[in-house]
Symmetry: C2
Subunit: 438 residues, 2 copies
């Protein structure tokens, strides 16, 4: 008898679409217009996205490109200028009729997003304008596990308050704040469900910070740090025509973020991208999760340090700055130190194995390595590329290339700031109104 549990298993599942494909571009897929007012709001976003993706252009060309009537576009542009999101640019010939049109462009100076990253040994805040300028950046060293959640949330709220004061003084409105956490997060509840490397279980990060900020705080949300890193990387990569990538960040843990067709792949409930615990070495080292042979025991920072240096070596000392320790190891590799090079080759072998698996499953255009991997790219990349070419089933590695992040450890905070700005492209009027208290 063929069993068919589907009919019973499916009853009761009345969930709507769990993942509308949230990404750096559009937080939610465009809702179906339900009336004149919301059509107009959606069209404001459409014009703004067109100018972002295709650059400055005349009202006539916007009308052609967006498939909207010219009088409608004239009205939309006027409203976006009033919202402070567009400004008049240079005259351009519109390519059709003879008269040059006045082009308009995004004015990204007066609206800002804030990203706040909680990591193992630091907190970092970054504020980016809609135009991409960094207008605030601060990093505070902290033993996050040792300090405990309350002290960490105090410090986080303090950093946000400091950023807001700076932006306020500069006349810049804040669209929102995204908190990046190194673990499994429940974005709906704003809760860090499980973050082994900082010892957090079920910490209500968003409500904790909101309570500390008090009334009038901008919208706060939570996201996994590697997903935000992927968002930040995607902004770089999309300029090169790459719209499908996997971001893999090597720190104490190994995190991942997947961009698919230009959107952050969050999965049905927001938990996608957990790549650190792929069981690739069944008899291997013990993982923080309690199992053996997870991928992060093969390629995480702890594995590198263990392979590269004797226990008494100062590169293990957590009280020293991580970047200084990595620079130290980088120097040893450059000087040809055999143990360091051998350690890096082992890391490369583990990376090649796991990345080939991910490339088989997802077929990305690029894998972007972040975190500590970027310090050793010249040693790791050729070996990883060779292994991937050998292992990936699709011809020519499925067209996938290996890239190194240029954003380093700031990627999650930057991605958080970008995500906080994202609603403006969906509903500019409402986002600006909320940001300015209008």
């Amino acid at each position: 008898m063929r069993t068919d549990p589907r009919s019973t298993q499916r009853s009761g599942d009345e969930s709507g679409r769990g993942d509308a494909g949230i990404g750096p571009v559009v937080i939610n897929g465009p809702a179906r217009p339900a009336g004149r007012a919301s059509i107009r709001r959606a069209n404001l976003g459409l014009v703004l996205r067109l100018l972002r993706d295709s650059g400055p252009r005349s009202r006539a060309r916007i009308a052609d490109d967006a498939g909207l009537p010219r009088p409608t576009v004239t009205g939309l542009v006027t409203e976006l200028i009033e919202l402070g999101l567009l400004r008049e640019g240079d005259a351009e010939r519109d390519g059709s009729v003879g008269r040059p049109g006045q082009s308009v462009r995004i004015d990204g100076r007066a609206l800002c997003g804030i990203g706040l990253e909680i990591n193992v040994d630091y907190l970092a805040a970054v504020a980016l304008t809609l135009g991409g300028d960094t207008v605030f950046e601060r990093r505070v060293a902290m033993d996050v596990r040792g300090a405990g959640p309350e002290a960490v949330l105090d410090c986080a709220a303090g950093l946000v308050r400091e950023a807001l004061a700076t932006l306020d003084a500069a006349g810049i409105a804040t669209a929102g704040v995204t908190v990046a956490a190194p673990g499994v997060v429940d974005i709906t509840a704003g809760t860090v469900v499980y973050a082994a490397n900082i010892g957090w279980h079920g910490i209500e990060a968003v409500s904790g910070i909101r309570a500390r900020l008090g009334r009038g705080a901008p919208p706060l949300r939570l996201e996994n740090d590697a997903k935000l890193g992927a968002v930040a990387e995607y902004v770089e990569a999309s300029a090169a025509g790459i719209h499908d990538l996997i971001y893999v960040t090597g720190e104490t843990g190994v995190g991942g973020g997947i961009i698919s067709g230009g959107r952050l792949h969050r999965g049905a409930a927001g938990f996608a991208g957990e790549i650190g615990h792929m069981p690739l070495d069944p008899g291997g080292a013990l993982c923080a999760c309690g199992r053996r042979g997870c991928w992060e025991t093969m390629v995480g920072l702890t594995a590198l340090l263990r392979h590269a240096a004797a226990p008494e070596d100062p590169v293990h000392d957590p009280s020293l700055d991580l970047e200084a320790r990595l620079t130290d190891l980088q120097g040893r590799a450059a000087a040809g130190d055999a143990r360091t090079l051998e350690a890096l080759d082992r890391i490369a072998d583990g990376l090649g194995l796991g990345l080939a698996l991910l490339a088989d499953v997802l077929n990305p255009r690029a894998v972007v390595l972040g975190g500590y991997f970027t310090y050793f790219g010249d040693r790791l990349a050729p070996r990883v590329e060779r292994l991937m070419a050998e292992r990936v089933m699709a011809p020519d590695t499925g067209g996938c290339r290996l890239l190194l992040s240029t954003l380093g450890f700031t990627a999650p905070a930057r991605g958080g700031a970008l995500l906080a700005l994202d609603p403006v492209y969906e509903d500019p009027a409402r986002t600006v109104a909320a940001a300015t208290g209008a």
Copy 2:
């Protein structure tokens, strides 16, 4: 020195968006309208999708739901009726004003898609109407590896010709044919790049069949069989509100298809879903790909047969019908045969390991097991579910449930037929014109 190969590696990559998210719903993301005519064509598709996704409704309600002017909708509906894609339905109250409107509904009877599956030991063809009715179904036993590509393509073309004749006699137009192949396929070239289990390397399947069919053949395309199985499963699952799933089919090989946010995840170059060769058992059995311990050596049909029965047991005999052999094993399991049950438990353990990995990476709402797994669901499912619950990092298995396919071995051919019909929802006028030779 921190290396930064990105700037050089990225130069030269001017590829456009590789994956616009091809799925059962829309083959390509809607193109940006470039003029009145194409806006009208896009709106025809919009109305058709609205009626498919939300059911029959009046013109007035279509106008409200689509955000289009009522006179425009009246014209669009008239054109779709003329194309044979809509028909008048029952009177309904439109919920706003008092007068009931005449509702319209999709008329799925006169347009058809054909799916043709090439598998290890059979060829199968299915024709489905836009309304979902099966109007042709044929399966031919064949030793595909032994017969060689030319004989297989002869047989495939014969099946398509037979289907077309049947549809023609019934006055049904054919929108297209999708060929399903069990391996890595290049969909742009229409080539089976590598299909280990049938011994094909670089076989030009699409042009081979097209040449045999001659002039006037409907549009032909090629796709991986498991991806098409996922498309067919998604049509079932979407009715239950599931829009993120992984379809895993157990045959000689283990194939996968990923639906993400209602779209088939094809990856940047169409190679996504290669899950059979995940290296989960480094010291394990030799795989057809030449490596050891690939997932399909743990959970594929060969592994089940090897564990379940001595070499001389007739369940190994490839000249016997596969379904009969599986039914035989099913009977042994039901009778409590220890060796069979132990073999199934080993398969379940391997499934749990690999599915937990995939659930961590992708966070689907459901995993759908197809192929031979469906014969043993009552034994496999509880153990696989327990293992996934233990291993998946997200709470509550990330909300993922385990389902068993009800489509069995017909899923890829059905998915092929559905994919062949898909363009009608994007550009109804052009698709019908091509199908009817108008």
